[in-house]
Amino acid sequence: MITQSSFKSSAATESRQTTVRTLVIGLILLLAVLHHDWWWWDAKEPLVLGFMPIGLAWHAGISLAAGLVGLVAVSFCWPAHLDEEDGGGESASTEDNPGEAAPASAEDDAPAATDTGKEEAS
């Protein structure tokens, strides 16, 4: 049963998610703007860490920042409904997609996951 308090809490979560989503989009756009660093265009110096020209160091920083923005995005904006598919969402049938391979069954998945796990551990 949906109570008033649970409704309020879900509305608050949704509002927070929207804010973070906007923030992530803003950060990606900011990265795209910062990427076009006309201000370092003809600068050979300073040498960051004593060896990296500033133009290269700036872009290495952009790559690091892209990873960080990715971290924020997957931590706060991950589309949760996609993960629901993991738990055995609606199964496709051959009538649904004639000619396509049927999706892997739960039986298929389990041993494969073990195989992968073994491989990754090694």
Binding site: A43, E45, E85, S91, P98, G99, P103, P111, G117, E120
Partner: protein, 562 residues
């Protein structure tokens, strides 16, 4: 030594293929998608390995030598931002749809989303053509690379090669080790034994006389190289990839990609460490270059890369969204959240691979002669500052980068033929899983053979065309994005978009031929800018002018969230 190390590495891959083959279950889902059971680390490694080619090591170093450090911003940091965004927005969503509706290939998704066999048939030749071009760059590149790094492996010690040279140059200085092999008599310059192009520099140093340099060029072209020939190198690489894809399908491909990605990342770092140490450390190398007024231009971008070119290059990484082989890798994930690591770590992996190579290319400009072939820069730096063992290890790293893309492409083409043509059009519901695997394997063999034969007969034109395959995939990206996020998008719009892409791509290609050598730009911008813009506009206009898709389709692909 170099060739032995390369052979050891290739043998390791064969073993891996054999091992993965033993675990293969008799289902087409296992052969083409590893039973959708790949974990986060392997997904990251296989996706990163697939998007990186030999260009990540050789090309990045050479291009920096040619165009300066701006190459990193142009190709690597844009890719970091855009690839990660695509994996987040497209990859995870494609995975969920693939899992829910059982898609094996990209075309299967398009056919189902737009309820159009025509669209899939229209896309099929385009996608196959682009992938084959991409593949050929790898096959030919591998053959050329092995030939380049294996001089005197099969040395012919008795053969004598002679070219004419009117008189001995006055300043001729033949090094000690070569005095017995080089002779100048009766207006003829002769060399005994094999002579690899790698030795050209040594011969050029013997004299500064112009007639000598001309004669050396002729001698190098005429003499046996003693290296593993290009046809053999191509055959070895094709057979190794064929072996593990044939026996292990997608599981072997994902395993091999993981290993190969780690190999080329580690080898790149080792090369960087050894060469940097020989140059006196990174600080010393950069200071020396900065002090050299005639050569320090590579430390900036002014005069080497255009500002609009730099900005509009952002459209090229969109191609990743439409690579059919990457699409197939996305479908192998065990769960959607496995994409999280790829989204976060992909830009960092790019950083780890590219920054050392760009720095090496920059320092190489200070120490190698101008006019050096950019593709030979990394090899020359390795040869000059390290031993044969490292050359062999770097060689294995470069081949790893090439093969980590090739295997996915071979398997993807086989999937397209098996699932989208044979199974869909000729065997609806009649082809058993075992037969699908058999067909898949047959197609892998056929595609490897076709690529090998084309690779034997053609070389440069493939590389010239290859640039356009990235532009083509990028031009198709808006159609995929609309399919995923625009409920109103329909088959008419998608078909119009594909046709527009084909016409624009052909037009730009012929314009580039007319323009001649050098990078082809339109108004100082990458042609892909116009191709993506116009394709999107055509798709949107035609979609809005034609009826919306059926409610049933909209509900299937855009279910209401609870």
């Amino acid at each position: 030594m170099t060739f032995t190390i390369i052979l050891c590495y290739l043998s390791l891959l064969l073993f891996l293929g054999l091992f993965a083959g033993r675990l293969l279950k008799k289902s087409s889902s296992d052969f083409f998608l590893a039973s959708r059971g790949i974990g986060p680390f392997m997904l990251l490694m296989s996706v990163f390995g697939t998007t990186m080619t030999a260009f990540a090591l050789i090309g990045s170093t050479g291009k920096t030598f040619d165009q300066g450090i701006g190459v990193y911003g142009l190709m690597a940091s844009w890719s970091g931002i855009i690839h990660a965004a695509i994996f987040f927005l497209v990859g995870a969503k494609v995975w969920a749809l693939g899992k829910k509706h059982g898609y094996v290939t990209q075309l299967g998704y398009f056919r189902s989303r737009y309820q159009s066999d025509g669209l899939a048939l229209l896309l099929f030749p385009l996608v196959v053509c682009f992938v084959i071009l991409y593949l050929l760059m790898g096959v030919i590149g591998a053959g050329r690379f092995i030939e380049g790094v294996t001089p005197e492996t099969f040395s012919e010690s008795t053969v004598v090669t002679t070219v004419s040279l009117a008189a001995a140059p006055a300043d001729l200085k033949v090094p000690d080790g070569w005095k017995e092999r080089v002779s100048l008599k009766d207006g003829n310059l002769s060399v005994t034994g094999s002579l690899h192009p790698k030795r050209k520099g040594l011969f050029m140093k013997m004299s500064k006389a112009p007639e000598w340099k001309k004669a050396v060029g002729a001698l190098i072209a005429k003499a046996p190289r003693g290296a593993v020939p290009k046809w053999a190198g191509m055959a070895i690489v094709c057979l190794v990839v064929l072996f593990y894809v044939f026996f292990g399908g997608m599981r072997a491909t994902a395993w091999a990609n993981t290993m190969q990605t780690l190999v080329f990342m580690v080898m790149g770092l080792i090369a960087f460490y050894v060469i940097t140490k020989a140059l006196g450390g990174p600080v010393e190398a950069s200071k020396k270059l900065l002090a050299n007024e005639t050569k320090n231009s590579v430390m900036a971008r002014e005069g080497l890369i255009g500002k609009w070119q730099f900005l509009t290059y952002c459209f090229i990484p969109l191609s990743v969204g439409m690579f059919p082989h990457l699409f197939q890798h996305w479908l192998t994930a065990r769960k959607a959240s496995n994409f999280k690591l790829t989204v976060v770590a992909h830009p960092i992996c790019i950083l780890i691979t590219w920054v050392p190579c760009v720095l090496l290319g920059m320092w190489a400009f200070g120490v190698l002669p101008e006019g050096t072939n950019p593709n030979a820069v990394l090899g020359m730096m390795v040869a000059r500052y390290s031993g044969e063992a490292l050359a062999g290890l770097i060689g294995a790293g470069v081949l790893a980068a090439i093969m980590s893309s090739m295997d996915s492409q071979f398997l993807c083409l086989s999937s397209l033929f098996t699932n989208d043509i044979i199974s869909h059009h000729f065997g609806k519901g009649k082809i058993s899983d075992e037969k699908k695997i058999l067909l898949g394997r047959g197609f892998v063999v056929a595609i490897v053979l076709i690529c090998y034969l084309i690779g034997l007969s053609n070389t440069q034109s493939v590389f010239d065309l290859g640039i356009w395959c990235f532009t083509g995939f990028a031009g198709l990206f808006p159609i995929l994005f609309a399919a995923l996020y625009w409920k109103r998008s329909n088959k008419q719009g998608a078909i119009a978009g594909v046709l527009a892409l084909a016409v624009l791509e052909a037009t730009c290609y012929f314009l580039s031929l007319a323009e001649g050598e050098g990078e082809f730009l339109l108004l100082g911008m990458m042609p892909v800018t116009f191709i993506v813009g116009i394709t999107t506009a055509v798709m949107v206009i035609v979609t809005l002018l034609t009826p919306p898709p059926d409610e049933e389709i909209v509900e299937k692909f855009f279910p209401a969230k609870n």
